[in-house]
Amino acid sequence: MADERKLAYVMAFNEAVKQQMEADPNVFCAGEDIGAFGGVFGTFGGLQAKFGADRVVDTPISEQAIVGLGVGAAVTGLRPIVDLMFMDFICVALDQIVNQAAKLKYMFGGDAVLPLTITTAGGGGLSAAAQHSQSLEALLCHIPGLKVVMPSNPYDMKGLMTACIQENNPTVMIKHKRLLGMTGHVPEESYSIPLGKGNILRPGKDVTIVAYARMANEALIAAEELSKDGIDCEIIDPRTLQPLDTDLIVSSVKKTNHAVVVHEAVRFGGLGGEIASQIQELAFDYLDAPVTRIGAPFSPVPFSPALEQHYIPDSKTIVQGIRDVMARV
C-alpha cells in the first residue's frame, strides 16, 4: 500500500516545514541551534542545508528577540516560524507573545496581519526537572489573539503544522517531547488539518475522555484496559486547544453522559477546568456524573524519576479516574 508510509512525529513536523518553505518563499525559520545543528530535538534537521542560512537562521540565546523577530517580520509581510527550544522558555518571551503578537492586530483596529508560528516543546517524563518539563498551554489559551495546537500523533503533527504555517494569525505549536519518536502513517503530499477541529480518536458509548498530546495516547491504552470491564470509552482529541472544538466534545458527552478531561498540566487552573465548564453549561441535562478532571498535582515538576512517575498522569490514573466516575452511577 503506497499510502502506508510511516514517519516519526519529529519528521512529520520537519516535512511540514520543508513543504511550506518550498511552497512559499516568505516562510523562514529562526531559533537557537536550529540551523547547522538542526535543532536540539532534530526538528529542523537538514533544513538549513536545503534552504540556506538566510531562511533557517541560528539566533543568539535571546527568546524575547526571537519572538520579536517573528512579530516584526510577520507584520511586515513575511511568514515566520520561530522556535523556542523548551516550552518553559516562553516565559522569557512572554511580553512579545502576550502583549505584542496576540494583540497588535486588535490594537491597530484590525489593520495588521500576523502569520506567525511559534514552535516549542512541552511536557515531562524525561527527568528534566521543574524548568524543562512544564505544560503551560492554559496560560496561552487564556490570551485572546493566539491559537494553540498540541498534536498527539505524527499524522496530526504534519497536518496541524501545515495549518499553523498557512494560518494568518499567531499560532503556538507545542510538540510533546515524549512523542518525538512516535511513528505512524503520514502521507507524503502536503495536507492540512483545520485549526479548531477536534478528532474522535476512538469511538465509544459509555464515557467521553477528552485528552490531548501525550495524554491522548495514554487514554487509548486506558480505553483498551477498560473495555475488558465492559466500559466503552470515546476519546476526543481536540488537537487545537484555542480555538476549542466545543461542539465535538459536547455532542460526544450528550451520547455518553459521562466526561473525564485529562491533561499532563497541573490540574488547578488547567484547561480541564474550562472544558468541564463548557460541558456543564452546554450539556448539563445529559450528565449522569460530575465532569472529572485528571491532571498533575499543584507542585512544580519534580526531578527524581521516583517522584515524576507519580506526578504525571498515565493510563493507570486514567483507568482509575474513569472507574470512579462510572461507579457514581
Binding site: 541551534d33 547547522a36 541560528d58 540565546i61 522558555f89 521516583a306
Partner: protein
C-alpha cells in the same frame, strides 16, 4: 607566582574536587545511572575554583545549568551532591531539583539554573541584600558567554551598576552556546567589551590559569567589598565534553584538534607542573591529594547508591513555606 603555597594548594584542591566529581558523574551517566540532563564542568575548573577561592563562606554565588563545579568550589558536600544527581531523598534538593537546580543556601550557593541568564538578576538581588544588611558580603554571578545575549543579563548588569552594588560578574567564555559557536551569535569577540557599556571595569583572564582567575577575582571582590561597585571578569576557557553528556570527540560543531589544543592547557595539570617546577609541591604530594579525594568520591557514590528514593508523598512538600517558617 607570589601567591602563598597554601593558597595555591587550596585552589588546586578545589579544582581536583570538581574534576573528580564531574568525571564520576560522567561515568555514572554513561552507564545510565543518572536521570535527566548532565552538563559537565570539566575543563573549566580554574574559573569556579579561582573565583570561589577568593570568596568567604557567607558570600553568595549564582550559577548556571553547568553548576556542579560552582557548588563544589564553594565547598559543596559530595555525598549530598551525588545523591541529588541520582534523584535520592538524601540529596541537596531531596531529589526535587537534580543536576540543573543543585543548590546549598547555607553555602551561599543560590542554585544552578535551567534558564539561561536567570542567575545574574538574582545575584543582583543578593548583592542588594548584602549591602542593605551591611555585613560586607559580596555576590558573584557566574554566567556563560551565550547568556550575555539574553535580556536578563543586560538588565542585571545595568541595574547593578546603576545601584553601584557589591557584585562580580564572572563570565565563563567557552566559545560555544550549546552547539553554536560564539561568532554566529554575537559580533564581538570579547564579552568584556560589554562592561564599558554599563560603566563597570572589566578584565580578560586566562580561564585555564587558576592563579590568574584568582588574582583578578581578589581585586574585583576587594572593589565590591569596599564600595567600589561591580566588575566583570571574562575567563577564556573551554569545556572538554559536549554541551551535555559525556561525548568529547567526533562532535560535528567543533573539531577534535580544537579539543586537543585546549586539553594541552588542562588547568589542573598546568598548575601542578608549575608548582612542581617552582618547588612549591611534589608529585607525591599531588598523588596523595588525588587519592584522598578519589576515596571521598567513592564514598559519595556508595552513599548515594544506598540512599532511598523520595516517596510519592513528598511531591507536595516544599511548594510553599508555612507561616511558622517550616518547610
Amino acid at each position: 607566582m607570589d601567591l602563598p603555597v597554601h593558597v595555591q594548594l587550596d585552589l588546586h584542591r578545589r579544582m581536583v574536587r570538581i574534576r573528580l566529581f564531574e568525571e564520576a558523574a560522567g561515568r555514572l551517566a554513561e552507564s545510565n545511572r543518572l536521570p535527566g540532563f548532565l552538563h559537565l564542568y570539566v575543563g573549566e575548573e580554574a574559573v569556579a575554583a579561582g573565583v570561589c577561592g577568593a570568596l568567604n563562606d557567607d558570600d553568595h554565588i549564582t550559577s548556571t545549568h553547568r553548576g556542579h563545579g560552582h557548588l563544589v568550589a564553594k565547598g559543596g558536600d559530595f555525598n549530598r551532591m551525588m545523591a541529588e544527581l541520582m534523584g535520592k531523598a538524601t540529596g541537596y534538593c531531596k531529589g526535587k531539583g537534580g543536576s540543573m537546580h543543585i543548590s546549598d543556601t547555607s553555602l551561599g550557593m543560590l542554585g544552578a539554573n535551567g534558564i539561561v541568564g536567570a542567575g545574574s538578576p538574582i545575584a543582583v538581588g543578593a548583592a542588594f541584600a548584602n549591602r542593605y544588611r551591611g555585613r560586607g558580603q559580596v555576590a558573584v554571578a557566574f554566567f556563560g558567554d551565550g547568556s550575555t545575549n539574553i535580556g536578563a543579563f543586560h538588565e542585571a548588569a545595568n541595574m547593578a551598576c546603576a545601584l553601584h552594588l557589591p557584585i562580580v560578574f564572572a563570565c565563563e567564555n567557552n566559545e560555544y552556546g550549546e552547539f553554536t559557536p560564539r561568532d554566529k551569535t554575537m559580533a564581538i569577540t570579547d564579552i568584556v567589551d560589554r562592561a564599558a557599556g554599563y560603566g563597570m571595569p572589566g578584565v580578560i583572564v586566562d580561564g585555564m590559569d587558576v592563579i590568574a582567575v584568582h588574582e583578578a577575582t581578589v581585586e574585583a571582590v576587594e572593589r565590591a567589598r569596599t564600595g567600589g561597585g561591580p566588575s566583570l571578569i571574562e575567563a577564556k576557557t573551554y569545556r572538554f565534553y559536549n554541551h551535555h553528556g559525556v561525548q568529547n570527540l567526533g562532535l560535528k560543531y567543533r573539531s577534535d584538534d580544537e579539543v586537543a589544543m585546549w586539553k594541552q592547557r588542562d588547568p589542573i595539570f598546568t598548575l601542578e607542573d608549575r608548582m612542581i617546577e617552582n618547588k612549591a609541591a611534589t608529585r607525591d604530594q599531588f598523588d596523595a591529594i588525588w587519592a584522598e579525594l578519589r576515596a571521598d568520591i567513592d564514598a559519595a557514590i556508595a552513599f548515594a547508591d544506598e540512599s532511598p528514593y523520595p516517596t510519592p508523598d513528598q511531591i507536595m512538600v516544599g511548594v510553599y513555606t508555612s507561616m511558622s517558617g517550616a518547610n
